[in-house]
Symmetry: C2
Subunit: 206 residues, 2 copies
């Protein structure tokens, strides 16, 4: 996939497109989508407004491109998400941290899309098409726990997918809380949730 530098194939990357995307994402996080204008995007990206309309057709096209790029990491996270190995504390903690890391950068985008019905519907259609959403994490963790239940390493009298939603929901809430510029009251740490889950899921000697 990565070729030589001597003979460049295809069009030389002028970098304009990427600069626009990066500038849009930065302004989106900083000021919010309500104050995001093509004019400022052009200034920050160091290009003209017309260049934006050349690469993306209109403002909606620009935003949709940014959204899809910002959500892309979830596909990789879902692909790598084949949990394996015996049930351990570190496994859950690593998974939870990965989920929170993704959400910390994707949640501002998901909330921004809610500010415009058209954008919201288009992003929802894209997520439907790519089968993205919180259910992915729930299913991944749930099926893993189901296997561990069959192996006798996790107590078998609970719905593994319910437990999956508990962890995903924890990450979701913690990440959402971080988005608000208020932290006067802290939520329990991710490690506390993982510890509780490990304790609760340990097979009982019934």
């Amino acid at each position: 996939m990565t070729g030589e530098v001597t003979k460049r194939r295809g069009r030389p990357p002028s970098g304009g497109r990427e600069a626009i995307l990066a500038a849009t994402l930065e302004l989106l996080r900083q000021r919010g989508i309500g104050r995001l204008t093509t004019r400022e995007v052009a200034v920050v990206a160091g290009v003209s407004e017309a260049s934006i309309y050349y690469h993306f057709n209109d403002r909606s096209g620009l935003l949709q491109a940014v959204f899809e790029e910002g959500i892309r990491p979830l596909q990789e996270l879902g692909a790598e998400g084949g949990l394996s190995g015996p049930f351990r504390r570190e496994l859950l903690l690593t998974l939870g941290e990965a989920i929170e890391r993704f959400l910390d950068q994707a949640l501002p985008i998901l909330t921004a899309a809610q500010s415009d019905a058209e954008l919201r519907d288009r992003l929802a259609a894209y997520m439907d098409e790519q089968d993205l959403g919180p259910h992915r994490g729930v299913l991944a963790l749930g099926s893993y726990l189901a296997d561990e239940q069959a192996a006798g390493r996790v107590r078998a009298d609970v719905d593994p997918y319910a437990v999956g939603l508990m962890l995903v929901g924890t990450c979701f809430t913690r990440s959402s809380q971080r988005q608000m510029p208020t932290h006067r009251s802290e939520l329990p740490a991710l490690a506390d949730i993982v510890d509780a889950l490990v304790t609760l899921l340990r097979p009982t000697g019934e």
Copy 2:
């Protein structure tokens, strides 16, 4: 609470202010804050634009009023939230349903506020001031569980606040999912999470 019609106390309700607030909330949910204009608010409310600026100083004032009104139910939910009675399935289920009911109507507002840095900060300041946020639910459920642990009705070897976050996070995620116009993949039902929690928290005969 509902008085007679014969003798009206206080200023006669012209209804203009309330109509504006209701129209704003409706348009906010329908089109998103990005397409919310004072012009359309005036049309839907059946008043003139100037009337909006009379009651609220500017667009930001209108939005902030809508935000605070939409979040008000949380204060009541927090006040009534004094969980009591022995640990039962129905107790958790009722609490979870109340949380989801609140979030279903408050989450669109919270996400809308994220679209503008100024609005976001002002709402955050208000929530700080009123001490509102997901931690309220976590603390309420956590302290209740701690009491039940002391009473021997809940297994005592887990952090009760961690468990609190699990339930709140579940409701948060489920409600967020409902906001997206896509349901191709369902999350576990609230009852499933409650069942799992009840099973896991039952005291073991250790």
